[in-house]
């Protein structure tokens, strides 16, 4: 006979553990009936026993029932699951007995899990998900590395960005962007509200491959004269929230820091440069001087490293592992750096470095 338990037996035992099981009472009833039947058979013999001997038999029978019940219970289910369930029940009982401890434990767990998932959501949005633009894989972040900047390097100053944009040949387009906080209102009668937007280079939308859903994006001419062309592209969310998705907003004038800005376009739905703060608008970086005097002229200060620069690697480089094209553009920037050393302060010799978007520093090499 097979002593090995069959699959069917295990299934039955698992089943017996989880839901449909013979109750202890039923098992015990069977054992008792056994004893009664045995008693009945041995009726005459039993009566012949003296009182003490009879008690002894009864005692033995009790012990037999207890032992048999033990074995039956083990055979009925899966003892370790039974034990586990018993442990859980025990834990719940203890928790109920100490409600304060239970409350503190539950709250700390909830906080821990909540913070964890919040941080993951942030990391997911910022690091794991690519920007919502066509072919985001070819997009790299270009960082500036001065001495003492450490591994990651940092943002770029506008003059350095302009130089790199002129000389770097590995990119189909190099864009710069910087967050801006601006008092925004729809008209002079309305009180302004602070909104977060972006200062961007004139080629921002073309280079990223994003076409406005309504209107147009910036023209190269609008980047020529600092402070001249007050134009703004509104983000789709903001347009829906503040203007009820009214397409006639384009060509209308809105007020930003008290200056009249022409709305020229609306970004396509789903596009954003920052999935967390979701900028409300995009204005040409060359407007920074007029829009915000407090920071000084960031367009001319070479050590004002406040712009985030991204570039789209040339299609010819796309199939080559990222490091190689990075290396090329880096060494080019480095040459540019050394030649421009004289113009920078002694503590900041710039060194170019391109990082695959969101994947630093795996794919990066610095010159």
């Amino acid at each position: 006979m097979t002593a090995m338990p069959t699959l069917r037996e295990w299934t039955a035992r698992l089943w017996g553990t989880l839901c449909r099981r013979r109750a202890d009472a039923d098992l015990e009833a069977e054992l008792r009936s056994h004893l009664e039947l045995a008693d009945g058979d041995a009726g005459h013999a039993a009566s012949a026993y003296a009182g003490g001997a009879l008690t002894k038999i009864r005692l033995n029978q009790q012990r037999g029932v207890a032992q048999a019940m033990e074995t039956l219970r083990d055979q009925r289910g899966l003892p370790w699951i039974d034990d586990f369930i018993r442990d859980v029940r025990h834990a719940l009982r203890l928790l109920r007995r100490n409600p304060v401890f239970a409350g503190v434990a539950v709250v700390s767990l909830a906080l821990g899990i909540g913070v964890n998932s919040a941080i993951f959501a942030l990391a997911d949005a910022l690091i794991l998900r690519p920007l919502p633009v066509p072919n985001p894989g070819a997009l790299v972040t270009v960082n500036e590395n001065g001495p003492g900047d450490g591994l990651a390097g940092g943002s770029m100053s506008y003059p350095n960005y302009a130089d790199v944009r002129k000389s770097a040949r590995s990119f189909d387009g190099l864009v710069a962007a910087r967050g801006a906080l601006v008092a925004f209102s729809r008209s002079r009668d309305e009180s302004p509200e602070m909104r977060r937007g972006m200062w961007v280079s004139d080629n921002f939308f073309e280079a990223l491959g994003v076409r406005p859903s309504v209107g147009r994006s910036f023209s190269p001419d609008e980047a020529r004269v600092p402070g001249r062309d007050a134009v703004v592209v509104l983000s789709d969310d903001f347009w829906r929230a503040r203007f009820g998705a009214d397409p006639s907003v384009v060509n209308r004038v809105v007020l930003m820091n008290g200056i009249d800005f022409h709305v020229i376009g609306i970004t396509p739905a789903g596009f954003t440069t920052d999935p967390v703060f979701r900028p409300a608008f995009y204005v040409p970086a060359v407007m920074a001087t007029r829009l915000d005097q407090s920071t000084g002229n960031v367009l001319e200060k070479r050590d004002a490293r406040v712009f985030e620069v991204k570039g789209r690697l040339r299609s010819a480089f796309e199939r080559i592992p990222g490091t190689r094209s990075c290396w090329r553009c880096c060494s080019r920037s480095w040459r540019w750096c050394s030649s421009s050393r004289a113009r920078t302060s002694p503590t900041s010799c710039w060194e170019g470095r391109a990082l695959a978007h969101g994947k630093w520093p795996f794919a990066s090499r610095s010159a």
């Binding site: 006979m1 097979t2 002593a3 338990p5 069959t6 069917r8 037996e9 039955a12 035992r13 017996g16 098992l27 009833a29 069977e30 054992l31 009936s33 056994h34 009664e36 039947l37 045995a38 009945g40 058979d41 037999g64 029932v65 032992q67 048999a68 033990e70 074995t71 039956l72 083990d74 055979q75 009925r76």
Partner: protein
């Protein structure tokens, strides 16, 4: 007792005598063995439960001739198949053992 022999004995008993309760099975085996095989409850009932879990017997509460409640076990179709194959195996094994122990050598 040899591992698995209890299953075989129980199945054979039930197949021969029809549905029986646990005590009747024990009594029958005791009788057949001339009193040398005395099963205690801790061996018999877990064995029956195992057979039931494997689908070889089916148990149900019933009433004895003396109007006592008892759980009766009946062999199932799967049980009969199992009995046939195990009986053949037992016979084969016993023949081998017999030859080994008593054959000329």
């Amino acid at each position: 007792m040899l591992q698995g022999t209890l299953d075989l004995m129980v199945l054979q008993t039930l197949a021969t005598l029809g549905p029986l309760h646990g005590y009747a099975i024990a009594a029958r085996l005791e009788q057949v063995s001339g009193g040398s095989l005395q099963l205690n409850m801790g061996t018999l009932y877990p064995g029956l439960m195992r057979l039931e879990q494997r689908g070889f017997v089916r148990g149900a509460w019933g009433v004895t001739d003396n109007n006592r409640k008892a759980r009766f076990y009946a062999v199932t179709a799967a049980g009969r198949r199992q009995l046939a194959s195990e009986r053949a195996e037992w016979t084969r094994m016993a023949a081998i053992m017999d030859t080994l122990l008593h054959g000329e050598g």
